[in-house]
Symmetry: C2
Subunit: 234 residues, 2 copies
DNA sequence: CGAGGATAGCGCACACCGTGCGCACCGGGC
DNA sequence: GCCCGGTGCGCACGGTGTGCGCTATCCTCG
């Protein structure tokens, strides 16, 4: 108010609203929108609204909606942490940590798995490539041959992504239903007569804990399988 | 041609164009369309055209487009073959066969993985439920406890679906590009400097064989891991 | 300082989407 | 013969991604 007019105007322009669009700002806004409202709620129009921009203004900075989404996917891949090769937990600890980090990312951004199924990422971004490379390094440091390392990495990521996909879909269903996870399980068990599979899960108080244990179980299977392969060496 | 006229007319009505819409006919047409042109090409309008029907005529038989898609998904799950428990290949052979069958189905219908990522199948259809149940039976017959069997099945299907998702996306990209798989790999290796992961794959003449070997590798990891668990028993 | 060209943003328009609604028709029971 | 439940359809509405051409702004060069 009573500030000297010139700097205050400048400051307000710069701080409150970055004014100009830019690739970064667009990607950041899209990420916010996706996290807050899900994949279906991301449209160029809604994104424009969030940026105080017109519906087609983003096309100066981004070729497609598809390209935009790929950029956001790569952005969140930047959150995945892969330990250094030769870390003190060995290859097994390193791979497990990376897998958990990937899973955590996918559950933090429940829409990613939906995108992975939909769009065959045309050009994998730098962050995704980095994660792959670093996982390969961990396997290599563990003594796996390049071909083995490649296939092992594919197996681990396929498992993690597969798990996360089904979990994300389930969680999405849960909070679209409005009920709690436990209630919904109970309800399903009534309507579907054969579901003795999840019957096994009822010993768990907390469904989230069950899901986490199930994930760890499957991950251990793969890691044990890799260990077997290592032990069979000359 | 020279048939008695009355039965021939009747036959033509019944065989050539079933005339009336029905859930089955709609689902069958949707499946054809999906297999032929992919998920993006399925719209109520295009489906109506294929059925010589109006765009909204299907809504008498199907609640939603989402429900329709779920029906089609369950339909193709009917193609998945799970061996009898106690088959002569043991639990390991049975699970492997089921996994291969599931993978083959997903690659025959490249759009399914896209759907699995998108829609949290609200009510799993009978065929899907049957496949799950039969896989559980195979594990049970192999001596796994119910909880273990449940988690093992989840792990295997997560791995298979995860693999199929990334393969389907890749294959989709391939034939959208118009080039051959080998050409596209070569092209990508030039633009992306770090891809020494797939570098390992170049020893293979046939990319399809590589993909199959990679799948078998990961599946064996899981099965070995399960064997370890079994051997560790009292 | 003034002019000119690049570029960002926007509004409009187009073709397409899922789907609610009410009308027309048609086959079977009283 | 009449009625009536259900089937199919056309229309319309609000939404989508995005191509196109206008305007306004800002940077550069004379």
């Amino acid at each position: 108010m009573a500030e000297p007019s010139i700097p205050s105007v400048w400051a307000r322009e710069a701080a409150a609203k970055p004014a100009g669009l830019s690739r970064e700002r667009i990607v950041a806004a899209a990420l916010e929108l996706l996290d807050a409202e899900g994949l279906a709620a991301l449209s160029m129009r809604s994104l424009g609204k969030r940026l105080d921009a017109g519906a087609t203004s983003m096309y100066r900075h981004v070729a497609n909606k598809d390209e935009l989404v790929e950029l956001v996917v790569d952005e969140v891949y930047g959150e995945v942490a892969v330990p250094e090769p030769d870390g003190r937990d060995g290859w097994r600890g390193g791979v497990a940590a990376a897998a958990r980090s990937l899973r955590a990312m996918a559950l933090r951004h429940k829409w990613v798995t939906g995108v992975l199924g939909q769009v065959g990422l045309a050009y994998l971004g730098p962050n995704l490539a980095l994660v792959s490379q670093r996982m390969l390094d961990v396997f290599a440091a563990g003594g796996f041959e390049p071909l083995e390392a490649d296939q092992a990495m594919s197996a681990v990521t396929a498992y993690v992504v597969g798990t996360a996909t089904s979990e994300a879909a389930w969680l999405d269903l849960v909070d679209r239903s409005g009920k709690s996870e436990a209630e919904l399980v109970a309800g399903l068990r009534e309507t579907q007569d054969h579901l003795n599979e999840t019957a096994a899960a009822e010993v768990y108080d907390d469904p989230a804990v069950y899901r986490e244990d199930a994930f760890a179980f499957g991950l251990d299977l793969i890691l044990d399988g890799l260990q077997v392969r290592l032990d069979r060496r000359p």
